[in-house]
Symmetry: C2
Subunit: 177 residues, 2 copies
């Protein structure tokens, strides 16, 4: 397991974490998989930030090597690869939540791209736990979580609906001008 860390700069947990995703793209790929439900190379290419295909290929390879993602053949298409989160990456959800909250508080975020972060912050640990359970179901084939409390809607759907509502309102406001 530890072979890719042979040349690590130090055994500090923060440093080792940064050696994994201390760059401008790795966490964005994981963000799109986690919150955007993206599983394929081509879906990941359509990121807000415009990643190029060689960088994406390189990062996916690295993340698979480090055990943060897994890669499998998609049965519906011989050339299609499907990427999955692992427990390792699913447990980044609280970090995403805090990172989003911090960014929303201190940086010039746009409303539509920060509504998810806002809801995730407001939902707290309970929502994060629920979301992680959903990801385990979707990516690891874990048994489905009890969804009776949440009205049958997944956390990702909740976030997505809120995002689209903001987009719709913005479009209406622009039309009204």
């Amino acid at each position: 397991m530890n072979e890719e860390f042979r040349e690590s700069r130090s055994g500090c947990p923060i440093n080792l974490s940064l050696e994994v995703f201390g760059d401008k793209w790795s966490l964005l790929i994981l963000r799109d998989m986690t919150f955007g439900g993206k599983r394929h190379f081509r879906e990941l290419m359509r990121s807000q930030e415009g990643i190029s295909s060689n960088i994406l290929a390189d990062r996916l390879k690295m993340l698979v090597e480090k055990g943060i993602l897994t890669k499998a053949d998609d049965p519906t298409h011989k050339q299609k690869a499907i990427y999955s989160l692992t427990e390792m990456s699913i447990e980044l959800v609280p970090i995403f939540a805090h990172l989003g909250a911090w960014g929303r508080r201190w940086l010039p975020v746009s409303e539509e791209l920060s509504i998810r972060a806002q809801l995730l912050e407001a939902g707290g640990q309970a929502m994060w736990d629920e979301f992680m359970a959903e990801l385990r179901e979707e990516h690891l084939g874990a048994p489905p979580p009890d969804r009776s409390r949440t009205g049958g809607r997944t956390v990702r759907q909740t976030l997505q609906v809120a995002y689209e509502a903001v987009l719709a309102r913005q479009a209406a406001e622009r039309a009204a001008e």
Copy 2:
């Protein structure tokens, strides 16, 4: 405030956060200031990971420009600069805590460099709040927090004592072989 983000790739809070410290060094510098109490260039040069002086100078400049640090003259020495955390960087404490917990769980950390992360994780939000209050006192001149509950020892001292205890035990074990 937002001038340095004019060319940002997107208004997503996670993306904007990564544009600030999505590299291999910025968070390590902030870690050393936050947990190591380092305030001077030369102290920061002595990181576990061996940052080089040009990179350190570049990152300090960027972090000051972005409002994540401030820089002031040290009255004790004409050439000495003293760097301080701001509210922005003090509020990274929960992110450090989660990042440390994640790294400790999934990466090949060393015992002595992860004992702090372990204590910080165990201490939870209450400990993080206490620590942030201490940092505000130390870096922003905020009024001292009520320290009666904690036996007069600061969180940083608690972490440091634990770190040194591990080092001492390791030295004793090596001597006993």
